[in-house]
Symmetry: C2
Subunit: 331 residues, 2 copies
DNA sequence: GTGTGAGCCGGAAACGTTTACAGCGCACTG
DNA sequence: CAGTGCGCTGTAAACGTTTCCGGCTCACAC
């Protein structure tokens, strides 16, 4: 240290007012010795870490990648760093993570659990740090602790897809869903049933086949579906499943987009990159990430604000895999 | 606090030996008041944060996603958390990040810069924290500061692809590369030239077309290539470009795998999911991530160890887009 | 000449831990 | 019974900052 108190040094380094002479001496000393302030000590004193966390099942899933990218962008823009956790959809692990927030190593968390259990709700109720949940929280959340919530609207999204297919003349619409005990799986199943009903189509259990939310499972499930039924369209609960379905259909010699229309969900990069290009219902993953991050920052800025619940509207992106108009023009 | 000194409390909570009576009282008090140790204070005292960082150009790029996933896995397994940074390939930003490590908010960094400049090397030389670089560091690194380095072998990888294509009877092998001023772009260009040479094929500048490492650029570049030449095979510098090329080829009415063979690089999930499935040279992105994380942990454990340089061997994964045997069997 | 306020400064406390050190009691040994 | 050593405990320092508070100097106004 060269000639001045610690307090003064701190003041000039944070621009809190010092005489020009003091400022010069501190800056010179700092530069000569290569001083860099210690972030951990600063965090301890400031009671904030300038870090956010994201917890999702699989940080390699395109949906979560899109979400993560959006979150990282708004976090970095606001001077926060982002920490990622792959939970593997393990409930105990997710609860442990939530309880771990009490250690205060991050300022806030965005979590997108694929299942939301009572254990999750209990952990959320006692969490000392802002958390925003991406995915549907029950309506009767205890209002004591405000938990912000951003949702996709799978139900409406499935409706968009079914309406589009029906408008294209499709009547036997298959559905390859993810596990029914997951939040998105359950919502999409309900959406499928309701949309069929609204369109006046009968529900045929032969036409629905469960899978996991992955490529291989989607491919296998579609193969099973084709073995026992003749759908003229297939809706898939996500794009990975849809690409699997695409392969199964092509392998079975089906002309996709003509004989069988195909629609995925999430509108990931995959949809544009597959061939034929895949129609897909965008549930706004990037948008949800962006909103989640913004809600988190807003709560950090104003802890007392009322809990927000925002849901992003789905949109249908029509491409060749279900583009009936193109089919009619170019048979 | 219930009846015992802070030191004793710390000791029982860390299992450092205390009488059963003290232990009972501390645990009871902790449970009753819901005590959770503060990670920041612990970090300040321990001089470690139990956190690693990963910095890549774009955390959405499938190559980096695979890398990140592997790193997160080994980090989490060793009790470390992972922080991610999207650098946008901005040199100033990357240097700033490196210099920021002096703030000690992470214990170590894995960085994969797409270009490695003198500014990078200078920053690496003064960095106070372990860093492992994924990508090729120059051979004459100053040995004072040991920087671990894991590399792909693009040069050999390109050779594998060319040899495979030549073995399949291809003679006019196009090449859609990424920017030549990037580390991978330069290496792949050199590999292409050397492999042609080794195979006794002439170099025809008409057959090579630069692009960016992305889908749309790959598609556009391939279109340009097809407009002026008639390749019987195309090698692409990564899978995103290759999928773009695939679309351009299909749109031009080419039978991919027969008329024109197509090979990508990186062997991302995309390769398996495109149709026809894409042959691709695996450069081991997940493996490189895993190794990088392990090197980092090893250096954290033993800071003085000599700098390691490991390179992972490429492998060629042949699929339908270049499977000449299949073509000959099923003309 | 005295009082007042502004500007700057240093001392010290605080953030929440871990750990070196010394002291204490006790059992065991010779 | 004295000596030795062990197991446990509390005190206090340390990690590296920021900030509160009181004191000093100085200019200015009355």
């Amino acid at each position: 240290m060269a000639g001045v108190s610690i307090a003064s040094a701190s003041r000039v380094l944070n621009g809190h007012g010092a005489s020009v002479e003091t400022e010069r001496r501190v800056r010179e000393a700092a530069a000569s010795v290569g001083y860099v302030p210690n972030a951990v000590a600063r965090s301890l004193q400031a009671q904030r870490t300038d870090m956010l966390a994201l917890a999702v099942e699989d940080i390699g899933n395109p949906v979560y990648v899109a979400m993560m990218r959006a979150i990282e962008e708004v976090a970095a823009g606001a001077g926060y760093r982002l920490q990622v956790h792959a939970t593997g959809a393990d409930v105990a692990g997710e609860v442990e993570l939530l309880d771990g927030l009490a250690r205060r190593y991050v300022d806030g968390l965005v979590i997108s659990p694929i299942r939301i259990t009572d254990a999750h709700l209990a952990a959320l109720a006692r969490v000392p740090t802002p958390v925003v949940v991406v995915g549907s929280l029950p309506d009767d959340m205890p209002t004591t602790k405000p938990i912000d919530n951003v949702r996709a609207d799978s139900h409406t999204g499935v409706g968009l897809a079914i309406d589009h297919l029906v408008a294209g003349g499709r009547r036997r619409i298959g559905f390859v869903n993810g596990p029914l005990d997951t939040v998105p799986g359950a919502a999409r199943q309900a959406g499928y049933l309701d949309a069929l009903d609204a369109a006046g189509l009968p529900f045929d259990p032969e036409l629905v086949e469960p899978a996991d939310f992955h490529y291989a499972a989607g491919r296998a499930a579609t193969r099973r579906l084709l073995d026992r039924a003749e759908p003229d369209a297939i809706l898939c609960a996500n794009d990975l499943i849809a690409v699997g379905a695409l392969h199964a259909l092509l392998a079975a010699g089906k002309r996709v987009g003509e004989e069988v229309a195909l629609v995925g969900m999430d509108d990931t990069d995959l949809a544009e990159m597959s061939f034929p290009q895949l129609s897909s219902v965008s549930l706004g993953s990037a948008e949800r990430g962006r909103l989640a991050a913004e809600l988190l920052l807003a709560r950090l800025a104003e802890p007392g604000r009322p809990a927000q619940r925002v849901t992003v509207a789905p949109t249908l992106v029509v491409r060749a895999s279900s583009d009936t108009a193109a089919k009619q023009e170019n048979p």
